[in-house]
């Protein structure tokens, strides 16, 4: 099932056009693996035929997002069940992820019992290390105090931090605090200064993965799907050879490649939202019950050292026709 995309030599040896084409298929469960600048794409169902050496990565983790524990309206009356299904998907991956990233909106109303319920469900995930960043639903009524108490150990400010795994530098950013009227997501001066300092000692060949709730690129500003001061953050990341930005918030899979930066948003485990401009507002999108799980999912990410970028695979909770 392997299909080789025509090589298109550029100064960095990346088959960029092919990569974009490949990324467009990723929403349907296609695996894109970059090896030495050549793109291989595999339909997810054909994964079993692959040479494990092609697939094996040195670092593997999964991203989940927007669990909205506490939501119980028509778009999904049982978000606990779909989160459990997401955990089952994670536990069923051929290569077990080493840890999880949760890109926010863990809870729906910042209620203690909602956070507790998510913690409880994630206890049955094989990867027990979970790294969180808050969504706007996690910092209601208390300026994010509860989020920090639960998930912010070792973080700075409203909960930003960085860590290393096998030579890959991870940065969790918070862009859901101090939102202003008519505004977008915001990082703020303090966090931007911290980011600049945090990146300074790293060599340009260090792979960097940034994760934050609201997209760091202008997906659809009219609906608030953008971060007003992300340009400054991205300018600090420009010198790095491989940067991946993982976001949530929009409850659908979207990707973009810009220079050395790959942007990717994850599906929600709770409910889908309409595509930009396809509805009056970005609220929960009701779909027939049998279609729901086909619009929810997890993201599996593999980094192979020496290969250029990440393999990002989005897996739906259920394949639907």
């Amino acid at each position: 099932m392997a299909r080789y995309i025509k090589r298109n030599e550029q100064t960095d040896g990346i088959d960029r056009r092919g990569f974009l084409k490949c990324m467009a298929w990723a929403g349907t469960g296609t695996l894109c693996v970059i090896k030495g600048g050549v793109l291989n794409s595999y339909a997810f169902s054909g994964i079993g035929d692959l040479d494990p050496a092609d697939m094996k990565g040195e670092l593997s983790f999964a991203q989940i997002s927007d669990s909205h524990m506490g939501f119980n309206k028509a778009a999904n009356p049982d978000v606990a069940a779909t989160l459990k299904a997401a955990v089952d998907k994670i536990n069923g991956l051929t290569v077990a992820p080493e840890f999880l990233l949760h890109t926010g909106d863990i809870s729906h109303l910042s209620k203690p019992e909602e956070f507790d319920a998510v913690d409880q469900i994630l206890k049955s995930a094989k990867p027990q290390d979970v790294f969180y960043v808050p969504g706007e639903h996690d910092v209601l009524n208390d300026d994010g105090k509860q989020f920090l108490e639960r998930y912010g150990k070792g973080s700075k400010g409203a909960g930003w931090y960085s860590f290393e795994k096998k030579g890959v530098h991870f940065i969790g950013l918070v862009n859901v605090m101090n939102l202003k009227a008519g505004g977008l997501g915001t990082l703020g001066h303090e966090q931007l200064e911290w980011l600049e300092e945090d990146l300074k000692p790293l060599t340009a060949s260090t792979p960097v993965i940034v994760f934050a709730h609201i997209p760091l690129w202008a997906v659809y500003p009219q609906w608030g799907w953008d971060t007003e001061d992300s340009a400054q953050a991205l300018s600090y990341l420009k010198r790095f050879g491989s940067v991946s930005v993982l976001n949530g918030h929009i409850h659908q899979i979207m990707q973009k490649v810009e220079g050395n930066i790959t942007f990717h948003t994850a599906a929600s485990t709770a409910f889908p939202q309409p595509q930009p401009g396809q509805a009056d507002s970005p609220g929960p999108m009701k779909v027939p019950a049998e279609q729901l799980r086909g619009l929810l999912g997890i993201t599996d990410v593999t980094y192979v050292q020496g290969r250029h970028a990440l393999a990002i695979v989005d897996t739906k909770l259920e394949e639907t026709r």
Binding site: K73, A74, A75, H108, L109, S110, E136, H137, L140, N141, L179, K180, A181, G182, G183, L184, Q222, W223, G224, D280, S281, P282, G283, P284
Partner: protein, 120 residues
């Protein structure tokens, strides 16, 4: 003599009573009975405050009710004049506007949602 004093007291009582009845009205203005007693309601639905702009007399209690299937908040732009907790579906928040002025506000969860209360 008794009669006159009696009438005077009566008149005095009527004047006082009339004064009590007019207390709370905007000074120098005759506000229609219906408006002064009204509480304005703003409906929140589909990521919108409706009506987006309302104009009310000072002293009006404005209530916001969330009919959307997602929580919203009602926060004055300065973030101090009024600030609701997160309102889930069917939750309500009220604020009485005593001082004339223009009060722009927004939803702090979805900041693109904005509205305005004009108090006269």
């Amino acid at each position: 003599m008794k009669k006159r004093i009696g009438i005077g007291v009566c008149m005095g009582a009527m004047v006082v009573a009339a004064a009590f009845l007019t207390a709370g009205r905007v000074r120098g203005e005759r506000v229609p009975q219906k408006e002064a007693a009204a509480a304005m309601e703003v409906k929140i639905d589909n990521f919108t405050f409706a009506p987006v702009t309302i104009t009310v007399p000072a002293g009006t209690k404005v209530s916001w009710v969330n009919r959307d299937d997602i929580p919203h908040t009602v926060v004055s732009d300065d973030k101090t004049t009024f600030k609701s907790k997160a309102l889930d579906t069917d939750d309500k928040f009220s604020f009485t506007f005593d001082k004339p002025g223009t009060y722009p506000y927004f939803c702090s969860i979805h900041p693109k949602m904005t509205g305005k209360v004009v108090v006269q």
